[in-house]
């Protein structure tokens, strides 16, 4: 009994989210869709409480080793909950104007966040799978949230089928590992002797997880789903689940397969190189800004994986730092995309429609320019520093080839970010966008742009320090 109580205490953030999800679901059922706005803010409050519980919570193993709360999981939970809260708020104007204003939206976000928190706290293959599935199921529904629109339904279906396949592969890998090592517990697995069977299991597990972080060669769903899903949902997909899946991947590699670093490093190195190059090259021909951002996220995952390939504390620090900054940049970019609406308020997504934005909407253009230069990794913007961190780790680990490919890919990638800036600043203005319809979103854009601007460099110290503490918890 005492043990159960202690476990519940350790898992307090998840508990808050569970109760919160059920509570908001009930509230929504009884009050109907008109409660969307207050419900959203209630969900933000739930995220805040869960985040507070995570930060102040007790570290330790719970539920007989299924669940762990440590510095690593806390760091990621703060990122996930923050990104989920922003995703909930930024959707409000969109939901109100496109006949998708149903109360399930924030509730699904809470459920998804619960799955993600479970993912980063998983200390066993089974809890890993449960967390991943909970997150994914909520995500499939969200992708098809604009159910009257064919593109959205298609995105949801596509995501579901491919996601289910990836889950199957993952589960198969888990069963192989269980068969050969006789355990699903990360701590025990970490000491298991290396064998061919476990190797096979490792490959399948990594394939399943790479799908979730949308790394090449498991990236095909990303551009289609981002394009088809409603823009706020795409913003959510690009942010929180990426951080959660990356955290999960890191923990599986470092904790469960810590004895096989040499083996998974080869896979991770290949995937990193492929993602960076394909993410950079694939984006060049895109004319839709959401697809462009999808390829950008593929490339960014590749850069973050450089840190994992290094496999050192510095490397994992780089991954965490990277994800933190990436969340801000990508949410900021999607917030700007949400502002792209024609005079009648309908969303537009083509790159060409950005032409001359620097004259019609100075502030918006400047903010998007900051995000683009930041994503391209040009100093002194904040986006340069996570790249700096992972390259430092790669050089320290003597992965010179990986580092050189990385910087070359970042130059190729710079080209398509520049295209966005070119459209906004160099081209003659086209039809103007509708005026901003949400002060909250405008404020969020402002904050994100400020963080990514050179002023954000002042945050390097605390952020890198926190990431380092979190990474140290894994070793």
């Amino acid at each position: 009994m005492n043990q159960t109580f202690a476990s519940i205490q350790i898992a307090a953030p998840e508990l808050v989210l569970t109760v919160g999800a059920l509570f908001t679901l009930m509230l929504g059922v009884f009050r109907g869709d008109r409660s969307l706005v207050p419900l959203t803010w209630v969900c933000v409050l739930i995220f805040a409480i869960a985040g507070f519980a995570a930060v102040t919570g007790v570290p330790g193993l719970a539920f007989g080793g299924l669940y762990i709360a440590d510095g690593f999981s806390v760091f990621l939970k703060v990122l996930i909950l923050g990104a989920a809260a922003v995703s909930a708020v930024l959707a409000l104007p969109y939901l109100a104007t496109t006949e998708t204003g149903r109360f399930e939206y924030p509730v699904l976000l809470v459920l998804s966040a619960l799955g993600m928190c479970m993912m980063v706290s998983a200390h066993d293959m089974l809890s890993l799978y449960i967390g991943l599935e909970l997150q994914s199921l909520a995500a499939y529904v969200l992708a098809a949230f604009h159910r009257n629109e064919a593109k959205s339904s298609e995105a949801g279906l596509k995501y579901f089928i491919l996601g289910a396949l990836a889950s199957g592969i993952l589960l198969y890998g888990i069963s192989l590992v269980y068969g050969f090592a006789g355990t699903t517990d990360f701590a025990v697995l970490g000491d298991a002797t290396r064998s061919t069977g476990i190797m096979f299991g490792l490959v399948f597990i990594l394939a399943g997880l790479m799908f979730k972080v949308s790394a090449v060669p498991f990236h095909m769903w990303t551009p289609d789903v981002y394009e088809g899903a409603p823009t706020p949902v795409a913003a959510f997909f690009a942010a929180a689940p990426k951080a959660a899946a990356m955290g999960l991947l890191v923990r599986v590699c470092v904790e469960a397969f810590g004895g096989m670093t040499f083996d998974w490093r080869q896979i991770v190195t290949f995937v990193a190189i492929a993602s960076m190059l394909l993410g950079a090259a694939g984006a060049i021909g895109q004319t839709n800004i959401k697809r462009l951002l999808a390829y950008s996220s593929i490339a960014n995952v590749g850069f973050a994986l450089i840190g994992l390939a290094a496999g050192t504390i510095a490397g994992i620090t780089g991954v965490l730092f990277y994800m933190a900054v990436y969340l801000v940049m990508t949410l900021g970019s999607f917030l700007c995309v949400l502002q792209m609406r024609d005079a009648d308020g309908r969303p537009v997504e083509t790159l060409a429609s950005l032409a001359g934005l620097s004259r019609s909407r100075k502030g918006l253009a400047a903010a998007l320019a900051v995000f683009m230069f930041s994503l391209a990794g040009i100093p002194p913007l904040l986006g340069f520093w996570p790249k700096f961190a992972v390259f430092t780790a790669a050089i320290e680990a003597e992965l010179y080839l990986l580092a050189v490919v990385g910087v070359v890919a970042s130059v190729i990638g710079a080209y398509y970010y520049l295209r966005v800036i070119k459209a906004m600043y160099f081209d003659e203005p086209g039809p103007a966008f509708a005026a901003s319809n949400s002060a909250v979103n405008a404020a969020l854009i402002g904050i994100a742009a400020l963080v990514c601007s050179p002023l954000g460099m002042l945050a390097i110290g605390p952020l890198a320090g926190a990431a380092r503490d979190a990474a140290t918890a894994l070793f």
Binding site: I378, F391, T392, V404, V408, A414, I460
Partner: protein, 501 residues
Amino acid sequence: MGFPVLSVLILLPLAGAAWILFSGSAENARWTALIVTLVELAIGIALWLGFDNSTAAFQYVENLPLFAPYFSWHLGIDGIALMLIVLSVFLMPLCILASWTSIQKRVPEYMAAFLLMETLMLGVFASLDLFLFYVFFEGGLIPMYLIIGIWGGARRIYASYKFFLYTLLGSVLMLLAMLYMVGVAGTTDIRALLTYDFDPAAQTWLWLAFFASFAVKMPMWPVHTWLPDAHVEAPTAGSVILAGVLLKLGGYGFVRFSLPMFPEGSAQFAPLIFTLSVVAVIYTSLVALVQTDMKKLIAYSSVAHMAFVTAGLFVFNTQGVEGGIVMMLSHGVISGALFLCVGVVYDRLHTREIARYGGLADNMPRYALFFLLFTMASVGLPATAGFVAEFLVLTGSYRTSAWLGAGMTMGIILGAAYMLWLYRRVIYGKLVHADAAAMPDLSMREAGILLAAAVPVLWMGIYPESFMKPLHAPVASILARVERAALLLPAVVPARAGPAR
């Protein structure tokens, strides 16, 4: 730590840019930019007057660990950095004045971009932290990209992409080398790295990585092709800053990093530099001869002059290195002034085709006079800045290798040919084009700008010691640093450093 004068120098233009963007109006933007750049000039002169020329140590040092653990706000200058800072703050007000009436589109953004540019350039020269240097070095791409892309000519978009991606590719390799250096030496402090002895085998790669960056910035043949495009498409003031200061970043990098940090690497690759320099001098001079676009011609002449800088820096003797630095200063003023001269006629006729002019001596005598002075300075006429620089570099190169000296001298002859021919076609002859004949002579503002540029050109030519005094001590310390590697040099050079073609 006393008054943080370098921080003020760097941050003042940034504050000016922010003010301009917030306040809006074009007139306000022009005046703010002018006042800020003039204050910067005053601070620069004050730095120069208060500078202790007797030591190679870095002065006005500030160190704030603002961005720990990655890097710190660490500033300080030696004589070389000082002179380049003086050059930058001198050219800036001229650029603002030159854009006074010719830029009518989005004036506040333009002035803000220039002030931002000034911040970043000064930051490069004043950084004492490796990564702070990189941040400023790389950050300069953003405003320059915008300046070319928004206010440039017809093919501005192509030119802006080419400029950005070319220089970015060069610098990211340098970044990796920097990460390696910091990993090995355990510090980001440039002063500590200057005395750290890297393994000679590693130096080869480090030198090449830095070379990739600086050679593109310089630019050296064969990676110079971005420069003519960027110059032709950039607005006049953009060209001035590009030629006057941005090209100096490469040379400064060679002096600050490549030479003293990798002496063995530098000696190993000196023959490569000499070959590329000689090829550049002769090849780009020949290319300049056939240009029909005034700006493109001057752009190619810049590449040729930069080859003098690289050759001078790597001959490992006092004349060569000091000559290379003086070449940077003199070229900064002279080519800047030449671009201003082109800008004067471009503002009137909106073409840079040489054939559209001719006979301007008749209707624009004052313009002809100034243009003549700067043409002669570019050719290297004694009593102008160009002569001092070229003479020193030639003396230095001849001492190391007669072949090198001979090759570089060819450049001077060809330089005289293309510059004088340009002058003849534009200024002399008959006024055949009616619209060219109708152009008025220099306005007071234009005459003032060109007069201000003429003063240092003559001063540096007549009494160069004023400009060279701060250089002696740091150059001597760099040479002391590379002395051990210089022994490797003579054995290699005469055999390989011929004017290979």
